[in-house]
């Protein structure tokens, strides 16, 4: 944790510098008759971020934060594996949206999570994985008039069938 705290502060300080540089693409000072330039506000806020990182590093050096005096690892192997399975599942879910549509991705994600991570029965898994996308379809496309991504063309027959029901 100790090493992680200072590494994170370093990464955030670098990001703050990047934001300062990026903000300076627009004027960061006061322009007569026009007021502060477009970069003024984000630039000085990025300076605030950088100074906060310096203060975090100072506290780390003095051992004032809990993480700075902890010898524990950031996460054990179980923690990393959990984050990998769950976080990876969410990344996969979002990646699949452009392929199998939002509703298809919801269905596949629920099968993955409920059956393989949650170890629920196939019956419960399939009921939820099939029912929820259909309910979401009626809520968003029918009631709220919000169109979700439809993925690649092979999903079109499904959408045509569903639109026939709601229109």
């Amino acid at each position: 944790m100790r090493q992680g705290e200072i590494s994170l502060a370093g990464i955030l300080a670098l990001f703050s510098l990047y934001l300062m540089w990026k903000s300076a693409e627009l004027p960061i000072g006061y322009m007569r008759g026009q007021g502060p330039g477009g970069g003024f506000w984000p630039f000085w806020l990025s300076v605030g971020m950088l100074l906060s990182c310096v203060a975090i590093a100072w506290n780390w050096w003095r051992g004032k934060s809990p993480a700075s005096v902890s010898d524990e690892p950031l996460m054990d192997s179980f923690g990393w594996l959990t984050v990998l399975h769950v976080g990876g599942g969410v990344i996969g879910f979002v990646a699949l949206i452009s392929v199998v549509s939002m509703y298809g991705a919801v269905c596949l994600f629920l099968v993955y999570y409920l059956r393989f991570l949650g170890r629920h029965s196939w019956v419960l898994t399939l009921v939820l994985a099939l029912l929820l996308p259909v309910l979401l379809f009626f809520f968003f496309e029918g009631a709220m008039q919000i169109s979700m991504p439809q993925g690649l063309p092979f999903t079109q027959p499904f959408f045509d069938m569903m639109y026939d029901i709601i229109y």
Partner: protein, 503 residues
């Protein structure tokens, strides 16, 4: 007496069968829309606006106002049950609502939220009835320096009262404010902070993207990792007797926050461009500041749920005031209501109370009825939301992920934003591991679009002289209080050092 007679007639109009029916339907729709992460009152009102052409204008605005009310109640449900603020007005509700749910006291949190919302809405409606024209004049005196001072005060409550690591809190606030500047500079119209030259950033970063990332993904990952997947929300039970005892406890432990939120929320809501979000945040901060047990805040204090919930309902009523009396909308939802009124052939402004008094008083009458209907419908649905929490976490967690992603897309309609949600979620998880408070960043991205233009307009007014924030009669005291709050941790530290040295 004249007011009473107008009000009686307004209430009677609101109780007509068609209007009462519209109130019940509107509140229920609003409740569910508000409870859905990513959707808020603005979506409900915007989507259902065309339907209102089927009924007279008075019934139409009553229906839309009922949706607005319902959504304000519904925002708390998502904050408590899922831990995701459904709308920016419910961010502060997660601070104590979620811990209560995790302690198995979700019913207490939801009942407190419902009752506080009811009191907030009713108090605001009474203020509205009595002082509408007078307050509209006061609100007009709030220019950019006053609004910026108010924003500063909202952030100061977090630095001064947060209790978290101060540099990390300041980092979080600055980070949220910078994220709010991504996209276009609203004053010069030039693209700004298009990060890594990715074109998706030109559209800016919405509040909901960060909020869903932090609470819907990051917080969930953190909970799963911390509890090794063995999460239960301590199996909350819900009975009629339990509901009554929760109501009693909510009154006993949440009355102070309720009153603070009701009064403060209304006055902040009345200010043009401020609205319910700063109102709820400031009420939370003030309630914590005035509490005898501030250490309970953030760990499941009913007062911490009551203050923002009373405030957001009170402020939503308050924000109708500048809309009706001045034609200035106080929030995005009232902007749509204003558009609706114009379409129905009404002209909002000082003459509305004279020219269209029947319409105005029907609306005010409907506030009382909507509020009453909303609390009853909300309490009736609490067992359903509690049942949701009793699901095994291995079912609830994927449902929350799904609602986060689907709701995130519904709010932004952009795959770029969905990827941002995932990145913010993973980032939030690691920041949380190192005790970076993330709520200030979420608040900052909400308040940033108000804070920046008001700061720049103020400096333009004063030719770059920052003393404008100290010399004006309203902005001055607010700025001074904000600075004292910002310095509070340093003062506390010095005092404790001196005490240690004396010992």
């Amino acid at each position: 007496m004249e007011v009473l007679s107008f009000l009686t007639s307004g209430v009677l109009t609101a109780l007509e069968p068609i209007n009462l029916g519209l109130i019940l339907i509107g509140v229920t729709i609003g409740l569910f829309i508000g409870a859905m992460p990513g959707l808020g009152s603005v979506n409900g009102v915007a989507i259902l606006l065309p339907i209102t052409f089927l009924v007279p204008p008075a019934s139409a605005i009553i229906f839309l106002a009922a949706i607005y009310y319902g959504a304000m109640y519904g925002g708390a449900i998502s904050s408590v049950a899922l831990g995701i603020p459904g709308a920016s007005t419910a961010v502060a509700t997660t601070f104590d609502g979620r811990p209560l749910a995790l302690q198995g006291r979700a019913s207490l949190a939801l009942v407190t939220a419902a009752l506080a919302s009811f009191v907030g809405g009713t108090v605001a409606t009474v203020f509205f009835t009595l002082f509408a024209p007078l307050l509209a004049t006061v609100a007009l005196n709030f220019g950019p320096p006053e609004i910026f001072a108010l924003m500063l005060l909202a952030f100061a409550t977090f630095v001064g009262l947060g209790g978290d690591d101060i540099p990390k809190t300041v980092f979080s606030i600055c980070f949220g404010l910078v994220l709010a500047t991504v996209g276009f500079d609203t004053i010069s119209g030039e693209p700004r902070l298009v990060l890594f030259d990715i074109q998706g950033f030109i559209r800016g970063i919405g509040f909901i993207v960060l909020a869903i990332g932090v609470y819907g993904i990051g917080e969930m990952l953190w909970t799963i990792e911390q509890t090794r997947g063995e999460v239960t929300t301590t199996n909350p039970k819900m009975t009629a007797k339990g509901l009554a005892s929760d109501a009693k406890e909510a009154v006993q432990r949440g009355w102070k926050g309720t009153w603070i939120g009701s009064i403060l929320g209304f006055f902040v809501g009345v200010l043009p461009a401020a609205g319910a979000t700063p109102g709820s945040l400031m009420s939370y901060g003030v309630a914590k500041m005035l509490s005898k047990t501030p250490e309970e805040y953030g760990r499941g204090s009913p007062d911490g749920v009551a203050a923002p919930e009373a405030a957001n309902n009170s402020a939503s009523t308050g924000s109708m005031l500048p809309m009706l009396t001045l034609g200035i909308p106080g929030s995005p939802t009232t902007a749509i209501l204003l558009g609706g009124m114009v379409m129905w052939g009404l002209t909002p402004g000082p003459r509305l109370f004279i020219d269209e008094s029947e319409f105005v008083w029907s609306l005010i009458g409907s506030f009382y009825i909507s509020n009453f209907a909303a609390v009853l419908i909300n309490l009736a649905f609490i067992p359903l939301f509690i049942w949701m929490l009793r699901m095994p976490f291995t079912i609830l967690a994927p449902l929350i992920f799904v609602l986060s992603i689907v709701g995130g897309f519904a709010a932004s309609r952009s795959m770029h934003d969905l990827w941002l949600i995932v990145i913010f979620g993973l980032g939030a998880f690691f920041l949380r591991k190192f005790d970076y408070p993330l709520a200030p960043a979420v608040l900052a991205i909400v308040l940033g679009p108000i804070a920046e233009p008001t700061l720049r307009q103020s400096l333009l007014l004063s030719s770059g002289d920052p003393s404008i924030f100290f010399t004006r009669p309203i902005a001055g005291p607010i700025t001074v209080i904000a600075i004292i709050l910002i310095l509070l941790p340093a003062i506390k530290m010095l005092r404790s050092k001196r005490r240690v040295a004396a010992d």
